[in-house]
Amino acid sequence: MILDQLVWPLALVLAALVLGPYLLAVLDGLVARGLGLTRGPGLWLAPLRRGAWWLIQHTNVTEAPDGRAWRLAPALYLALAAGGLALVPWSRAWVATDIATSLVLWGSIEALATVVIFLQGWSANTHLTLVGAYRYVALGLSYILVSMFVLIGVALPAESLALTQVIISQQELWNVLRQPLGLPLFLIVGLAITFRGPFNLADSTDLAGGTSADVSGAQRLVWEFARSAMLVAFSGIATAAFLGGWLGPWLPGPLWVAFKMLAVLALLAWLGPAFARLTPEHCVSLMWVVLLPLAFVDLIWAGVEALS
């Protein structure tokens, strides 16, 4: 009883929290290798080496930062990512937080992530980080609607806001096929919440690193780690919402979940660097004018499909 409800889910969440970002870093390394940015041996060690360098480098302080908020922001981002992972059902029995409204709770994690990313850029009290922070808020306030519509779409056939019910409703057909627009739209949300690739408005190159421009050392390590962890959490939610979670033949559920999460991560790691970064203005227009109507269409599709 205790083992099923507490120990195993906790162990799985913590394992995903530690291993997931590491594997994502390895995947990123593979993609970078494909683009010809790095080469040579040490694919598996490279993330550890980078992490070691960040641990050794001193943490920067600016002239008049909001010191507490600045240190708190990466840790809070990590906590939000962990909270997201806690919602992921690993199997029918092993769910760390199996509540009736886990989809809404994930939505609130997305909303709070915007706050935390803003805080990271704001607290440094430097020019480039500040611009990065405000830019990200434009994106963060826009993608959230797309995310809500898409997730409500998966709640329709499940008749529930709990992720476990969403998975059970996919027994016959996974949502990725049943609602073909859903997963692509949701993947865009994933890139946006971790500001990767075309949606890297927060830590962009034109701001010399944006919200990270004046961050160094261990704080940067936690920030990058949390950013990866958030993508891992996102991939867990995407797996549950669209890829049938633990459903799958032969293997035990948690393994299926892990495989599907890895597949989503690999797809996102590959998609991220493939596109040029959008300008903030473009991003906002894209979200409201293109993706939001598409999310409407997805919802209508899901509605029609659920009734038939």
Partner: protein, 115 residues
């Protein structure tokens, strides 16, 4: 029970994040003033960065608030959608159509562009 575990996970990760930042830098001295100046490629700022920052997307932010209110009605709607059938379709269709007018109007007036 679920909430307890959620809470434990939050606290654990928050603590780990803070510890990981604090532990390596606990003996580091305070950096010098020149190091703490904002990085501007060798240039210097006249003022602090914190200011009445001119957000260029404020109409969008306000529009979002109104829209998000409405979204909160959609979650309970989604749960009873299949059970209520056509009635739910009609009602939400009307609701969304009314609000789409708002977005269309905003778009027409250039709300999603930088002011």
């Amino acid at each position: 029970m679920e909430l307890l575990l959620f809470f434990v996970i939050l606290i654990l990760s928050l603590g780990a994040g803070l510890l990981l930042q604090w532990w390596p830098s606990r003996h580091h001295p305070m950096p010098t003033y020149p190091q703490r100046a904002p990085f501007l490629g060798g240039g210097l700022p006249d003022t602090h960065a914190w200011s009445r920052f001119h957000v260029r997307y404020y109409p969008m932010a306000l529009l979002l608030i109104a829209f998000e209110m409405e979204m909160m009605f959609m979650y309970p709607w989604a749960v009873v959608y299949v059970a209520q059938g056509m009635k739910a379709v009609m009602e939400m269709g009307m609701f969304l159509a009314i609000l789409s007018v708002g977005i269309l109007y905003g778009w027409r007036e250039g709300v999603f562009r930088w002011q």
